[in-house]
Point group: C2
Chain length 114, copies 2
């Protein structure tokens, strides 16, 4: 995990890493919980049926994928969602949509509006 | 694989299935190729360093995740991107973003516009 500076290290985001991280149900559950807001590692771990050590390992995968940021505040490590990984995945998905599908969706929206 | 009717079967989309499908590099490469437009299974398989049987298996996973639709036209099975799976993943990702991140991004967009 990164240190407590809170400074984002700029690095090339690997979409493979992001999708690998998202492919696991426990990690998705952790992200779902964190979308309520930042929380400590122990609070995040609370409802999960796995050991704290396993939670920390999953966190590391999420952090390496830029899906979660952790920060040490005093003796507590706080976690929050990192939008960088979410954005990378969303952009990849958006680029996979054929042009005509996008047009059709737009048409559907217009029809719904009326 | 589904039959050649081209009719979309309505079913509850399982986001776990979608992210599992997206977690594999070969399947992502297949989706990348299909975002250029529909193509036959054999044309899709051409540049991939795996057997046709393996391609068909990956296609099945993609189809079950509503990421790809296949349709038999005469003797040729044609594949294309299915937006349903892409949308499910995109919606899940969007829901993971904390409110303040969304506001910050919107602010960034406004500042860029000026």
């Amino acid at each position: 995990m990164r240190g407590g500076s809170g400074v984002r290290k700029k690095k090339k985001l690997d979409v493979a890493r992001v999708f690998h991280a998202l492919g696991d149900a426990t990690r998705r559950a952790m992200l779902e919980r964190l979308s309520d807001g930042p929380m400590s590692v122990s609070r995040l771990a609370e409802p999960l049926p796995i050991t704290l050590a396993a939670v920390v390992q999953h966190l590391q995968v999420l952090e390496e994928a830029s899906l979660v940021m952790t920060e040490k505040v005093g003796r507590v490590r706080s976690c929050r969602v990192d939008a960088a990984g979410l954005n990378a995945a969303t952009e990849w998905l958006a680029a996979r949509r054929p042009e005509w599908e996008r047009k059709l969706d737009r048409l559907g929206e217009i029809l719904k509006e009326d």
